[in-house]
Amino acid sequence: MLAYLQTVAVPDMGPTPFLTPRPLADAQVAIVTTAGLQVSDQEGFDWFDSSFRVLPGDRRDLVMSHHSQNFDRAGAIADLNVVYPVDRLAELVTVGLIGSVAPTHISFMGAQRELTTLIHDSGRTAAAHLREQGTDIAILTPV
């Protein structure tokens, strides 16, 4: 698999944007994953689907509809936190490391063939959603 990944063309994303974040202890933190997750009453992902799903933070009826064969699924079947660490973030609030957990999180599906829609459309729309709910920091978990 690693050999295959090394053959994938890496897009040129240009200069790295860089924000000075709010202090962690005051910050609202959200998860943005590419695990292809939805809650049970949302539509699943289609092949090479670059849309996203908004995952309410209090929902645990999570379903994975990622289309790639090339990753381990059993870990997530046993424990959602291994891809979607929502319970771990709640614990970090309790100990005061972060300010709060966002009310909703975001899931895309990884293994995209082209990134144009994600970069110019759905990624920006997801960012607007996060901004509107007051999210300061996103932890990105890949699949």
Partner: protein, 224 residues
């Protein structure tokens, strides 16, 4: 994931990206903050049901927000991909001797599949779809051309559903995911369904039709 980090940061959300297996992506795409974790693909927090380890990963990631410039750091611990070591999972006895071997096996796993999801993520799988898909693979195995075998969907979608069904049942039976790819290895090498798909795959390849017609049926790790 690194592209998404660029987009979100540009749009006002500070990001920390966990990266597994392929360090070349953050090296070349330069997201604002990335923590490279040598963990199996599909387990970005490293270890299921190990809250302390997962917290440690998050704490390392969040610490990167103290940096005043773009940063790519390495998590100090490695979690190995167990690859070929299969889960030791016994398949329940077949409940209906009148069913074909693979369909009967799948039916026997139904109860385990249904009780999964204790703290985990399930897959959107219809057990009837799994049985119909397995019946189609059995027909290919028996010599029917794959286009005439009655697949309910493209064969790649069928294998994804079958694999997901078996892995979900296996985790429920074992009360554990085992090592990374262990449930997948069990499915491919130790079940009738896995053997049926491998045989059918060989027949599809031998038919001479291009692979892009029937797609990737097994992961690169298991297609051997």
């Amino acid at each position: 994931m690194c592209a998404l980090a660029h987009v979100l940061e540009r749009e006002g959300i500070a990001t920390v990206t966990l990266v597994t297996r392929a360090r070349l992506f953050p090296e070349q795409m330069r997201p604002p903050r990335a923590l490279y974790c040598d963990f199996p693909l599909g387990r970005p927090l490293g270890k299921p049901r190990d809250a302390a380890f997962q917290r440690k990963v998050l704490e390392h990631a969040l610490a990167l927000l103290d940096s005043c410039e773009p940063v790519l750091a390495d998590f100090p611990e490695v979690v190995d991909d167990d690859g070929g070591a299969p889960l030791a999972c016994a398949v329940p006895p077949r409940v209906d001797a009148g069913l074909s071997p693979a369909v009967g096996e799948a039916r026997g796993l139904r109860a385990a599949f249904d009780r999964a999801s204790g703290g985990g993520i399930t897959s959107a799988i219809d057990p009837g779809f799994v049985e119909d898909s397995l019946a189609a693979f059995e027909r290919v195995q028996a010599g029917t051309p794959w286009r005439d075998a009655g697949f309910p969907e493209r064969p790649q979608r069928c294998t994804l559903a079958i694999r997901g069904y078996y892995e979900q049942a296996a985790v429920a039976l074992q009360q554990s995911s085992g090592g990374a790819r262990a449930a997948e290895a069990w499915f491919v090498d130790h079940t009738i369904a896995g053997g049926t798909i491998k045989s059918a795959l060989a027949a599809m390849r031998a038919s001479g039709e291009p692979g892009n017609e029937w797609g990737i049926l097994l992961s690169t790790l298991q297609d051997r």
